[in-house]
């Protein structure tokens, strides 16, 4: 029982990270109907930017944890957003109206490029980092198993929830959010009504990338080690989360992320650690076959 509770806590923490990445997938899919394969790698770049920022701040003598974290968050999110914007501008925008496979191939090319760019520039070795916020407290002690909630997990939960709250407000309450939702419903109609669709699509990529960078920082803090390859697996899992929640649905992405996090953690705890990725990937296949619209998604109607 205590063991299960501990897994529940760990699963929710991991699920929040996946949820943050999944939002980026689902927003881009909702607005231009393509899978942004490079999104997982933007997450990885966000993690690297965070690592560099934390090291840089430490060498400048800024070691107060709240200040360092806040500065890192802003730095990583801003630069990852620039990456998101550039990727869209360079690899996707020229391809609107090209043949069907073109954006997909371009996206996979961008993903390979970003991954190998980081491998070449930062090296292939795993980058370990000391825990920034050590410690935690014990919730309960049952059957000689202590259930622990670390400060780090609390920080991750609080940050994620506040970022998501800001993001929800942005999408539902602001003129920008209204434009985004209009483009999602009907891109051509939105442009006829005077909405700058190119700009709106760019903004979507920028927001998605910034959220992925936040996820990257959380990942770095939680696991304390990153390498250039983390974006690949995390990307597929976050995409699975987006599909599970219903692609195009923003609450669905967060819900799907939490579910995938829980499934992965419980699978590792009770079955086998080696096959945890297989479990997550199999869910993708199973969901696509039996529940292609996801939990909160709408059925897609294709008009000719």
């Amino acid at each position: 029982m205590a063991y299960a509770l501990q897994q529940l806590i760990n699963g929710i923490t991991l699920g929040m990270i996946y949820g943050l990445i999944a939002v980026g997938y689902t927003m881009v899919y909702g607005i231009i109907g393509m899978i942004n394969f490079a999104h997982g790698d933007i997450f990885m770049i966000g993690a690297f930017l965070s690592l560099i920022a934390l090291l840089g701040l430490a060498s400048l003598g800024i070691t107060a944890v709240p200040i360092a974290l806040a500065l890192t968050l802003v730095f990583a999110a801003a630069l990852a957003a620039l990456y998101g914007w550039t990727v869209e501008r360079v690899a996707y925008r020229p391809l609107r109206g090209s043949f069907r496979l073109a954006p997909l191939i371009s996206a996979i090319g961008m993903s390979i490029t970003l991954q190998n760019f980081v491998q070449v520039s930062q090296g292939a070795r795993v980058k370990p980092m000391e825990a920034l916020i050590p410690g935690g407290f014990q919730i309960m002690d049952m059957d000689d198993f202590a259930v622990r909630l670390s400060w780090m997990q609390i920080v991750i939960a609080v940050t994620t929830l506040s970022i998501l709250a800001i993001f929800t407000w942005l999408v539902t309450q602001t003129p920008l959010g209204r434009r985004m939702r209009a483009c999602e419903q009907d891109l051509r109609m939105a442009s006829l009504l005077g909405i700058d669709t190119d700009l709106t699509i760019s903004v979507t990529f920028v927001i998605g990338a910034a959220l992925a960078a936040v996820a990257g920082l959380m990942f770095l803090l939680y696991y304390g080690a990153i390498d250039f390859f983390i974006g690949f697996v995390a990307g597929v899992k976050a995409f699975t989360a987006a599909v599970l929640g219903g692609i195009g649905s923003l609450p669905g992405a967060v819900l799907g992320g939490l579910l995938i996090g829980l499934i992965e953690v419980f699978w590792s705890a009770y079955f086998s650690v080696e096959y945890k990725d297989v479990a997550a990937f199999s869910i993708l296949i199973i969901v696509l076959i039996f529940l292609p619209t996801g939990i909160l998604g709408r059925a897609e109607v294709e008009k000719v």
Binding site: F37, L55, L104, M110
Partner: protein
């Protein structure tokens, strides 16, 4: 002109933002944890390159606009018809003129050509983006390796089995997911490729895990083996030759050449059948196909299975050539390499794929060996450094190439593939050439 400079300056500024942290500050494992090392020169070089590149693009961009956005003109097509027989003759005669190094390299290139042709059926003809093609390569390789080491079967009896196994897995995966939209198929195949690799690593009792399978038997020529003792029943003994390794190397080269040519011939023939026509129609417009009564799922499934089968054949060849396989050979990078070859060559073009594989796999390797030879001759540190780092940059080049090709020439850099049958102005269908 002023606007041009401002635009280029803006691009340089963005490049500075992108590259200053990731290129300019390297995280290195120091004595007490990670340390940062600054590389201002590298950033300056990259940013000025972006500035100059953007400037050139803006000044000359409109003048060098490609004549046709969808591939080369008729002159290229005519040249292509002359290139194919020349390539074939060179391929047939290569072992007589080249040293062992070149025959080995040509074998590697041919393996990629065969994989490229196999994937071309799926991506180029049927228009299904398969990002886990390496899974079928792995299934073929492990099928042969396990059948040979467990039951003592030979290469030639296992080859069809390896192809059938791979096709079977193709159907097994394809059946449920081919009903989905194209984008979903891409990510599902990506996940499937990873699943296969993880299973190969962790199912130690069957696959020996990360250590791989050793002692995979070599192929025989009508029962004649290529072992080094030179006795009865070996190739050297039968023809009264001195046993040499080069004989086996050349034999393997002709095996893969034959397999690749069969793949090519089979694909070219298939393209003229109703099934092949249906693939191409499917690539162009799925909804129209469905309206015309084509069974979309079955058509996709056959493309998937046939592509997988060729992957399986190539895998079996890979296993017998290396005599050793491990899950490390079947990573996503392999899938990406083969996809890059197909896309660069031109989706659906057989000749283009061959040329792309020669340039991307053979060309890079030749460049590397040239650089290390120069480094040895001149004792130059710079060339040695570049030669060592070249493989690292390979995937970076492939990834960028995928993007650049899609932006500039979406139907392929080297060659093109238009539908085999097109409607002329008068409305009568005309069959296209190869």
């Amino acid at each position: 002109m002023k606007g041009v400079f401002r635009d280029a300056g803006l691009s340089a500024l963005i490049a500075l933002g992108l590259f200053a942290p990731l290129i300019g500050l390297v995280t290195e494992n120091g004595e007490s944890g990670l340390v940062l090392r600054a590389r201002p020169v590298a950033v300056a070089v990259v940013v000025s390159l972006v500035f100059l590149g953007r400037l050139l693009m803006l000044i000359r961009g409109r003048r060098i606009a490609l004549p046709s956005k969808f591939g080369p003109g008729p002159a290229m097509v005519r040249a292509g018809k002359a290139v194919a027989p020349v390539l074939l003759i060179v391929a047939l005669l290569l072992p007589f003129g080249g040293s062992r190094y070149y025959v080995d390299l040509a074998t590697l290139v041919l393996t990629y050509i065969m994989l490229g042709w196999g994937l071309n059926v799926v991506v180029g003809l049927a228009g299904l983006l398969d990002l886990g093609y390496v899974a079928f390569y792995a299934v073929g390789a492990y099928s042969y390796a396990l059948l040979a080491t467990t039951f003592g079967l030979g290469f030639w009896s296992c080859l069809p089995l390896a192809g059938i196994m791979a096709a079977f897995w193709g159907v097994l995966l394809g059946f449920p997911v081919l009903r989905l939209r194209g984008d979903y198929l891409a990510i599902v195949t990506l996940a499937f490729g990873e699943i296969i690799r993880i299973v190969l690593i962790n199912w130690v009792s069957l696959t020996n895990g990360p250590n791989g399978i050793t002692g995979i038997p070599r192929p025989t020529l009508f029962g004649l083996s290529f072992s080094m003792d030179g006795g009865e029943g070996t190739f050297a003994g039968f023809f009264n030759l001195e046993p040499e390794t080069i004989q086996r190397v050349i034999f393997l080269y002709y095996v893969i050449l034959g397999l690749a040519l069969i793949t090519n011939w089979f694909t070219l023939r298939l393209r003229r059948t109703p099934l092949g026509r249906a693939w191409e129609a499917l690539r162009e417009d799925e909804t129209a196909c469905r309206s015309l009564g084509i069974n979309v799922t079955n058509t996709k499934l056959t493309a998937f299975a046939i592509g997988a089968m060729f992957g399986g054949f190539a895998g079996a060849f890979f296993a017998t050539r290396q005599a050793f396989i491990s899950p490390e050979s079947f990573t996503f990078i392999e899938s990406a390499t083969v996809l890059a070859i197909v896309v660069l060559g031109g989706l659906g073009s057989q000749l283009g794929v061959a040329l792309a594989a020669i340039v991307m796999v053979g060309g890079l390797e030749l460049l590397r060996s040239l650089l290390s030879w120069l480094a040895d001759e001149m004792g130059s540190e710079l060339f040695a450094g570049i030669a060592n780092e070249l493989p690292l940059y390979r995937m970076l080049v492939f990834g960028l190439a995928l993007v650049v090709v899609m932006v500039l020439r979406p139907r392929g850099m080297v060659s093109t593939r238009t539908p085999t049958v097109t409607l002329t102005r008068a409305g009568t269908p005309v069959g296209g050439g190869a």
